[in-house]
Amino acid sequence: MFTIVPRKALGGPGHTAPSEELTKAVIGVGGMGRGHLTYPGARLVAVCDVDRARLEDVLERTAAGVRGYHDFREVLARPDIDIVHIVTPPHWHGVMAAAAAEAGKDIWCEKPLTRTVAEGRAVARAVQRNGRMFRVNTWFRFRDNFYSFGTPVAPIKKLVDSGMLGWPLRVTIGKSTGFDWKFNWVGRTDLRPEKPPAHFDYDFWLGPAPYKPYHPHRTHDTFRGYWDYDGGGLGDMGQHYLDPVQYLLNKDDTGPVSVEVDAPQQHHDAAGVWRRIVLRYADGCEILLDGEGRETKAPYIEGPEGKLYKGFESDIPDLERKLAELPEPAPQVTDFAESVRERKRFALNEENGHRSCTLVNLGIVALRLGRNLRFDPDTERFVDDPGANRLLDQPMRGSWHV
């Protein structure tokens, strides 16, 4: 837990003078946002939320010097803020991240990085054009035990890179391999318009999203159920589960060439459940998202020469010893404060983060349209399907833009 310690309490070499301390602002202080307040590496100086009740509640629990804001643009205009944390629902990520990059801020953005593929590419361009440091708030490719494996991703990466599994590879992500697709995030189709509470600026909360009458289920704790703001369980967990896969398969600079879906017809507004989504790459690698939990015997990752199951079980004999003899994967920058100070690209940045978020968004577009699609990862557009391309890049309300 990072606490703000006055300078005079620190002594000797190794202390950080406040003028060298990094400062941060957190935009969006709901459930996730309150977690961001205490992420280490920078001192909190500002919080921003369009729900005045949440904002005031958080201000009561932070240090005296933290200022509260309603409009994120005022936060971006402060020259003394180094890093902005974007912890709003996904429909705002693109607008805020691009604006933050143009304003010269470094950015720590929640997942999924953006709600559409086009916004993700625009954010990556804005960050690169302005020389900013950027990270997405998922971390399994470089830290922590990876779900049901009991190990981090690093040994899995070693296994893949060693060639012991063969090529191409198929990855199965579902209940049987230790991943929960969170189908509780479904939207309601029976919302009757209500008046927003006086302390909540609903119009600003909507921002670039189309105007629809207020209902509490659209916002705050349940926005994930609506296509306008997010993408159900796929949007919630997709980047956590899929970013490590792109890393494992060495696909950080490319993407799938096709997406297939098996699901009921989706509602135009409310995200629903789905049974199966398959993403395929040009070289034959495949990722199967098993929503139904049908693939009860599947390994997590398998190739022509070997399989790896959850719990790090494998059909390759003596696996641990063999892996111990192999070199570790390439080192990554895993401390964002270091990334910001030294201007070194973070392990999960605007480019590979956009690429892995694209997998989530391909799934969402295919689900919403109810058909299988082909994708060109170089032009980042669907092939021969203008309708699908309309969902890749959607116009924003008002004059919001990325």
Binding site: P193, P210, K212, P213, D262, D384, P395, W400, H401
Partner: protein, 611 residues
């Protein structure tokens, strides 16, 4: 929600045959009913089968579906929304351009009638996915609608093309504050070069936000960055920028000559994009003869040029201009006429009436619809009278719906509420259709003054709300029939418990031999039992009167008073059916015909409010 899982394979094949068999209005309704019942589709294969059938029904199906939409919370239109959004997805698949166009035109036509804004936004969202150049003109009209301009601008953005740019530019030139910001953002996204002159003017505005947006947009237009330009957009004729510059410097004669030359060349070459860019410049620069110029352009075979000319013409609204357009309308080519009639409505002079009146009787449906819109925009007693008089002569459902909605939106329409008869009763049905009623309209049919529930019929609600009243009607049962008159009901609740249901039942049917007393014909269902024995057999007409005065309900059947109850007393300490019955204490609500899957006919239903 409609979701009956009958044997899928056989059922699907059977109703696909039904769906494809007939394109008559009856056939469309019947086919729609079947196709809606299975929505949402369970998987891709079912989706493709169902929506192929739906798409084959063409624009009439989209129009019917749009009629079924209700504002959120006001009804159960979930099936219609699944159908319309599913169609939008289905028709945008590769290789389905003809279907896409038909669907988009159907939706655009539905947008022509005034609607609840949320319903209109839903329709516009479908055009955001499925709309194409054919939608530009109808959607552009909504740029003037304070609730819908943003959604309309987004549709034009995704459609793109010079017509969209021209429409957005015209809208920008007519607007200020928040709307202008939206139009500027759209023009920037389209990189619509002809907007540069207007943007330059706005960049010098006193309004800081407006000026900033205009500058950002200009920067994009002027950057000529090939990387950012929309794919496939051809470069604008550089003489356009030249003419703009001449105009900006006050050299009107030179600007007019140059713009005129570019326009004439573009027209000769059928280059709509350049013609649309040149026309406003020529019109602005010309000192004389602007109207001649616009009228010639309004007769162009290119729809983009016609639309641009008519948009510009809205700025010339003198009485003499209106009279000239009226004369123009007499000899204009048919494809130009709808736009001209709408323009006449927008110009707002009574002198337009002759042309609009003539348009109402045109052979062409597009012209008739435009005349209706024009009269609606014009307003006033005469326009309202013309529209109201036209309603019985409407030739198509779309026309009837547009007439109804347009008239009801006019203040003068209050005069057209049917006058009570000598006894003070007002008819509830017009004898031709379900006007004035909402809900499961597909489940009821009207023929020669008789309204009947079909076997699939569920609840039909009066649009109007009543408190205390006398209701009179005749009814005829089929064997075993079960229906009900809901009184003081909220929309879409459970009529019997959220309001009250006066039972309509074939008492004589064997299946009804051993019911509870409060279940027979004439009962306040669940609460108060009627006297039996006065109901005629199935197939014969009965006469009934229901008097509702506060908690006092009286039912008179074929001259006999079969029920006289105080429902609040009757339900003390608890109603006979043993459930919560909040409807007993409601003081007002809708009437409902509560279909319970049987055929019952009604005629002469009329009401005398007692409040």
């Amino acid at each position: 929600m409609y979701k009956r899982r009958l044997g899928f394979r056989g059922g699907l094949a059977a109703f696909l045959c039904c769906a494809m068999a007939s394109m008559s209005a009856q056939g469309v309704d019947g086919a729609l009913e079947n196709l809606l019942e299975g929505l949402p589709a369970e998987n891709q294969r079912e989706f493709e089968a169902r929506f192929s059938a739906l798409a084959a029904l063409g624009a009439p199906a989209s129009a019917r579906l749009a009629e079924m939409l209700t504002p959120p919370g006001a009804g159960d239109d979930e099936a219609a929304r699944y159908a319309l959004s599913g169609l939008a997805k289905h028709v945008t698949r590769p290789g389905a351009e003809a279907e896409r166009r038909a669907y988009a035109l159907g939706v655009a036509e539905a947008l022509a009638a005034p609607r609840d804004p949320e319903v209109a936004r839903f329709l516009l969202a479908q055009l955001e996915l499925a709309g194409g150049p054919e939608c530009v003109a109808p959607v552009s009209r909504l740029l003037a609608d304070p609730a819908l301009y943003d959604d309309a601008a987004r549709v034009l953005r995704v459609i793109g093309g010079p017509e969209s740019g021209a429409a957005l530019l015209a809208a920008l030139q007519r607007s200020q504050d928040a709307r202008a910001l939206v139009f500027i953002a759209a023009l920037r996204a389209l990189a619509y070069a002809p907007a540069a002159e207007t943007l330059r003017r706005l960049a010098a505005s006193d309004d800081a936000a407006l000026a900033a947006e205009a500058r950002t947009a200009l920067a994009r237009l002027e950057s000529l960055d090939a990387r950012d330009a929309p794919a496939g957009a051809p470069a604008m004729d550089p003489r356009i920028a030249e003419a703009e510059a001449l105009l900006a410097r006050g050299q009107r004669r030179e600007a007019e000559a140059l713009a005129g030359a570019v326009y004439a060349e573009a027209v000769a070459a059928s280059d709509a994009m350049t013609a649309v860019a040149a026309l406003p410049l020529q019109a602005e620069a010309a000192r004389r003869g602007v109207l001649d110029l616009l009228m010639t352009a309004a007769a162009s075979p290119m729809p983009e040029v016609r639309a641009a000319a008519l948009g510009l013409a809205e700025g010339h609204d003198s009485r003499s201009a209106v009279r000239r357009w009226v004369r123009f309308a007499e000899t204009a080519p048919e494809e130009a006429l709808p736009g001209v009639l709408r323009l006449l409505g927008a110009l707002g002079h009574g002198a337009a009436l002759p042309a609009l009146r003539a348009g109402l009787a045109s052979e062409s449906e597009a012209v008739r619809l435009a005349a209706i819109q024009g009269l609606g925009a014009l307003g006033g007693k005469e326009a309202a009278a013309l529209l109201q008089a036209r309603r019985p002569q409407a030739k198509t459902t779309a026309e009837a719906a547009l007439l109804r909605n347009t008239v009801f939106a006019m203040p003068e329409a209050k005069a057209w509420i049917p006058a009570p008869d000598d006894e003070g009763f007002v008819p509830l049905f017009n004898g031709r259709d379900l006007e004035g009623w909402i809900g499961h309209t597909l489940g009821y049919e009207v023929e020669d003054g008789v309204v009947s529930s079909k076997r699939v019929g569920l609840n039909l609600y009066s649009e109007a709300v009543y408190g205390d009243f006398i209701l009179r009607f005749d009814f005829k049962l089929t064997e075993g029939a079960n229906n009900g008159i809901g009184i003081r009901v909220p929309l879409y609740g459970h009529a019997a418990y959220d309001g009250m249901e006066i039972q309509v039942l074939d008492d004589h049917a064997e299946a009804h031999a051993n019911l509870k007393p409060w279940q027979y014909h004439g009962a306040v269902y669940g609460v108060a039992a009627p006297e039996l024995g006065h109901l005629k057999p199935a197939g014969e007409w009965n006469t009934q009167e229901i008097i509702a005065r506060g908690p006092s309900i009286t039912v008179i059947l074929n001259g006999h008073t079969i029920l006289e109850a105080d429902v609040v007393e009757a339900a003390t300490p608890a109603p006979a059916h043993g459930r919560e019955h909040p409807g007993l204490t409601r003081t007002s609500g809708h009437l409902a015909l509560c279909g319970h899957n049987s055929v019952v006919s009604f005629r002469g239903m009329r009401i005398k409010p007692l409040d």
